[in-house]
Amino acid sequence: MSQEFSYLSAQQRESLKDLPFSVMLPSQVPQGWTVASLDFDQDEDGASFALGLTKGEARLNFLTTNDGIGDPPGGARTSRHPHQDLGEITIEHEEDGEFLSDWMEVEGGWSALAGSGPSDSELDQFVQSLTVF
């Protein structure tokens, strides 16, 4: 088994230690997925972190923020994905193909998984490897 978070560079991993909250990220990513972005924003509405992954047209964002959130609107369908510590993560899919998971509380904020394009089995893999960094 590969090392946890090895898909991130040492510099990227180091930058996560300066965030004002913990972040929930996949410890490993399925084959074919690559890091597209690593963003941190802070403004009058609070702090926000996002790790973006892509695979072809599919994209995933691992989000953490400490302000201004709402529950996933959904509308098209709901998928559920098991996690060994969190139980089951619910993902709400919208009619346009975009999805958002329920928010998971982490130290100092809330984390969620959003995106479009991955299969449910890929979402299973991502959810199973979710770990607080």
Binding site: D43, D45, I69, G70, D71, P73, D85, M104
Partner: protein, 233 residues
Amino acid sequence: MYMNPMMNPMMMNPMMGSMGAMNGMSGMFMMMQMMQMMQMMQSMMGSMGGQQQGCGCGHQPMGYSMGMPGAYPQGMPMMPMPMPMPMPGQYPPMSGGQYAPPISGNAMRAATPTGARLANSIMNSPVPPNCRPGYCYRGVKHHLRNVGVNLSGGSAYQAASQLAQRPDRFKEVTVSRAQLKQLPPGAVVVWNRSPGKPHGHISIATGDGREASDKIRNQITNRPASYRVFLPK
């Protein structure tokens, strides 16, 4: 490492578990509580069945939908209840809003000056800066700030009580679920939290059957939660 999966703060019903021990003074107390409950239910049924001037949506009985006059016992002329008794696993309705008047035909058709400014803000910035999926409250805060209204709190449902406290800027109205897609530009819809969904949702109507928050989407109407609607003045 700290992990806390979302908890569902079920409120315990104090009557449960003590029914089998009804005797003496505790039995009298239990009887009084039961009479209060019956009185409350009679009052609720009377107000719901006798007048259909509320939202009329009829999807969730017993006050689960906001804006239904008399649907929640708060403020009713009855004996004081020892404590609210929500259904186990359900969040109580958002307080307030149950006496909001129905939306008028004129209000449905016309955008107010502030509503037009909100629509402009949405056109200029359909996805506000740093606004990602699920950041609906952040998006709405951005647009409302552009018309001089500042909201606080981290979760969307928290906006309702703040908007209700700004009668100088907003008028709360009762709107059925079917009417949500006909709201004028700038109308703010706040969805309450519900079991498993602790943050709620908030959006601003664009006037064409869609809503804006973290992005522009078709107006949500079927969320299994109560909601309140505020028209900008």
